[in-house]
Symmetry: C2
Subunit: 595 residues, 2 copies
């Protein structure tokens, strides 16, 4: 077992030197030779004939501006499980007033500010910068990561951060940091084949990143909360029984622990400790990809019970963090693996994709300083830094001057010009809280509708004239405890056509039925597109055996009203699909869907 930092334990050790995990390419990255000259640039009045950079006066942008939300735009939901009824989290009190809750922000070409951590202007943001990030924004994110999100990292000095172009970029750089590419075509030894531990269902882009590098995708079984630590197919079993003739024992674990995509689980602290101890024992790096950490739904368990006529759940008492983030909202969330990372073996991937917009292509990595330093060298030789356009706008939104206004540039009405400072840390946390409110209310609406649809199919057993009508469930699901998705198991193996012989298909399988149901759902009567489980299967075996039974329903991409409507149409479509008795019709649906 790993020695975990005990509450109250104050003497922290340095994070371990885990550089033996670095790839050959990473080991070969030496600091830039140019850096020894950097000091000269800092001398005031130095004439710069050295840098190959255009003068900012030649940038065609004189300002960058925006109409932006104020942090209070969306109404929060309670931080702790509400008692019965829970009207507050059902959609009441939502304040969605984009016009009055907005302000104007403008990044000037030049700012007279001399402190680079406070200077936000285009002369710096649109110039060549540092791989770690635009100083004012990096400084904000660093404070957010170290003091708010992860104030309890149990190694000396705490974690460091570096900006990325989003979490896909972050994971791509992580693979480059930690793995050599492997190919049998270049005569690589099978015992060097690197492996990636992950859950059985996974965000598929991760596979597109790892597989071409020749990695073994090594699945670990999961339950409703996430990855299993013990038992058959659990993490300990996979690592203990590793067969080295299949490749190197994996030294990287990829996991989504908060609002797992696609299954919606949130990994509790007890499970985290078990998994961490195993990773310590087998010297595995944990890559925690957390796009949804702020979307934890305390109301889910109670709502689920109420909706299904079950007794109310007794919420587990909230674990009080050793050191508070300073925000009740953040303290109420299950913390990251970083909070128990005594070794420094956790790499935490964050993104602004879900909190601001996917098109930002902006995020950050939090990890021990030795890792962050190498990420910097990797970034310098790739895109160098995230775009200054988004870094400047985010810095201005969070830290810069803003002007309260209910008009846009082109309107004619007078403006109230109360100037105030940007969102700041409290505003940012308030924005996240509001977003959680929006998503939690949507989750409740979708799941309430799905609950009403999951039972009650007329089942018509073949057999003479007697028609027996009874109710049996066509699907089941847990209300998601976090994230953006409901993960619905449709009982396709109970479908009347399952295993039957079709006109041209020898045996109608679960995969056929999954595709046929999707085809039916996209027809005019239903016009709704779920994501089929096969998209998330971590390998071919899982795809064949069980993925076809699942569908992921996202409650984020549509507006509130349409989420209701789409959920109803999904429920109606599934029920209609179960009424189909004709294998010929199943084949027709497959043909129509082109699947």
């Amino acid at each position: 077992m790993a020695k975990l930092a005990k509450p109250g334990q104050q003497v922290l050790l340095e994070p371990k030197d885990l550089s033996h995990h670095f790839s050959e390419v990473t080991k070969n990255r030496h600091p830039s030779q140019i850096k020894e000259y950097y000091k000269f640039f800092q001398i005031p009045g130095m004439g710069n004939l050295a840098g190959g950079m255009p003068h900012p006066s030649l940038f065609p942008f004189d300002t960058l501006e925006a109409q932006a939300a104020k942090p209070e735009r969306w109404a929060p939901t309670p931080n702790y499980p509400p008692s019965s009824g829970a009207a507050a989290s059902r959609g009441d009190g939502a304040k969605e007033d984009p016009v009055s809750a907005s302000s104007h922000i403008a990044v000037p070409k030049y700012s007279a500010e001399s402190n680079p951590l406070h200077k936000i202007d285009l002369g710096t943001a649109l110039q060549y910068g540092t791989a770690e990030g635009y100083p004012p924004l990096l400084s904000f994110v660093r404070q957010f990561a170290r003091e708010v999100l992860h104030p309890n990292v149990p190694y000396r000095g705490g974690a460091e951060v570096i900006m990325t172009s989003g979490s896909t970029d972050g994971f791509s750089k992580t693979l480059e940091l930690l793995t050599n590419t492997w190919s049998e075509n270049t005569g690589s030894d099978i015992r060097d084949k690197p492996g990636l531990l992950c859950e059985t269902f996974i965000y598929s882009n991760v596979l597109s990143q790892a597989e071409p590098r020749g990695m073994n995708i090594v699945t670990v079984e999961m339950d409703q909360v996430g990855m299993r630590s013990s038992g058959p197919g659990g993490l300990a079993s996979v690592l203990r029984n590793w067969d080295t003739t299949k490749g190197k024992r994996p030294h990287i674990l990829y996991t989504v622990t908060m609002g797992h995509n696609p299954t919606g689980g949130v990994l509790p602290m007890e499970r985290r400790k078990e998994i961490y101890a195993i990773c310590h024992e087998f010297d595995v790096i944990i890559v925690e990809d957390d796009p949804y950490w702020y979307l934890q739904f305390p109301s889910a368990a109670n709502h689920e019970a109420l909706s299904r006529g079950l007794p109310e759940t007794t919420p587990a008492p909230a674990v009080k963090p050793e050191k508070s983030s300073g925000f009740e909202f953040i303290d109420s969330l299950v913390p990251s693996f970083l909070s128990i990372d005594v070794d420094g073996r956790v790499v935490h991937l964050d993104t602004f994709s879900k909190t601001v917009a996917p098109g930002c292509r902006l995020g950050w990595i939090t990890a021990q300083p030795r890792f962050i330093e190498r990420y910097g060298r990797i970034s310098e030789t790739a895109a160098q830094q995230p775009s200054g356009f988004v870094q400047a706008m985010m810095a201005q939104l969070l830290l810069g001057q803003q002007t309260e206004t209910i008009r846009t540039f082109f309107s004619l009405t007078p403006t109230e010009r109360k100037t105030f400072t940007g969102w700041s840390m409290a505003g940012w946390v308030r924005w996240l809280e509001g977003l959680r409110g929006v998503y939690e209310r949507r989750m409740v609406r979708m799941c309430t509708i799905l609950d009403a649809a999951k039972d009650g199919i007329r089942d018509v057993p073949a057999g003479g004239d007697s028609v027996m009508v009874f109710k049996s469930p066509v699907m089941s699901f847990s209300w998601p405890r976090g994230g953006m998705f409901a993960w619905v198991k449709v009982y396709l193996a109970r479908h009347p056509c399952f295993g039957k012989k079709g006109p041209t298909i020898p045996t109608i399988t679960g995969r056929h039925l999954s595709d046929a149901m999707l085809s039916l759902l996209t027809k005019e009567e239903y016009r709704v597109l779920p994501a089929p489980g096969a998209m998330f299967a971590a390998n071919q075996k899982i795809r064949e055996e069980r993925a076809w039974s699942y569908f992921r329903l996202c409650f984020a991409a549509e507006t509130d009203d349409r989420v209701d409507d789409c959920s109803r149409r999904f429920g109606a479509g599934v029920r209609a699909f179960f009424e189909i008795r004709s294998v010929a019709l199943i084949e027709e649906l497959l043909k129509e869907g082109g699947l």
Copy 2:
């Protein structure tokens, strides 16, 4: 010799299948399995529960706006070599009036436009997008690349494009596309060690990208225009005499052909044809990195001659392109390797770093379609796409509605509100022409000052009482024919202290003198920082043997007035350095500079 397309030849062949050059990782990249479901998203009214994306109403940005230049902000210089005098390119006629030559642009949250090539709004630009680029911007860039920059690509269908996060990102992806990593530590065969052909002096980040991957850096000698094709150390010689015990014969050539960094040469068409023929013979991919292609200086040769009291040069008659770009400015520039790329072996890297701002982190790759398709798969698994913030702003600047205004949002004076469409292609080309004007005028100013400083040092030979004063040049350089840099050779081997014994240094070498001179230049009297040649040496041998004699002076990073002043201070500093007779003083300077 390669079969080059003859003028007037209309029957073009398909580009060659060069996929045997792809890396193992690239070969293993299969198209996304999710794509077969994309068609369903296109059905009108489809309820989207599939995509894991937030709804745009939840983005905190309601608009993105900017004050931006109009394309006419800067005054151009003539497109063809001006006759004697050439006042026009000396700085006369520059119109630098940023206030009146500006307009306001605003990207709305939602646009009603249905054609995705014309729809510019935050609902699309800040959402997840496609790796190839934001459709309106990609469409503009594709037209610019195919019809304006490279209208004469001699293979069927012409070249394709994909957006990048700048050229460093573009080259990083090119290495991933075409090379396996190599390391002796993993038992790789020396005969598989990949090689990179490049000029002897090079932008050092390219080395930071290639070396950690285990690549051989294979230098090709260069002259004033660029890479040598023949002769000792020329490209043909390097490839013909390749010793396979040192690694695989290189199959990638990296080159900067327009305003070479650091040497300032522009590779003429005749030399391009020779190099292309050799690359065809040895099956080498040409990676042409062209951040400065629009900065070609037709006045340089004449100005150089006039400044040095030499007879005026007779300009070579401009080569009329087979198919015009439609713009006299573009037609006057030496075209890319793509214009003779019958095989489809040229990868052309472009960037907005020098034409708009480095902080854009935005550029594009132009190459044959098979390459572009694989770049797309590489991008999907890295940053996915360049930031939507910069793509939206660039699309709006180039294609969107703009409002003429001399005020910013916060000013109180009335606004003239003449709305007009964005820059468009003609405006973009006009902007480039204006930038060339600014840089060409700066180049002329810097080089005129340097010419005045390069001669005339009092030389005091040691030898009794007799002091003989005479003039001899301390440096020499060619006026750059393109780009942002003057590449100055300082005759440090003629310095009085060269080869002498110092108080602690056994022999004062050229490297010592280079560092000492830099140290002197940064002192208060001169306060000017050139980039020492060692920064650009492609390998240690060149660094030791000759790089120390060179300094790169950039005329881009400072304002016009400061460029004059810095050039003067550089000239004065070099002269002062040559007056130093004391080896102790040289050592003192090294100590002070910390070099």
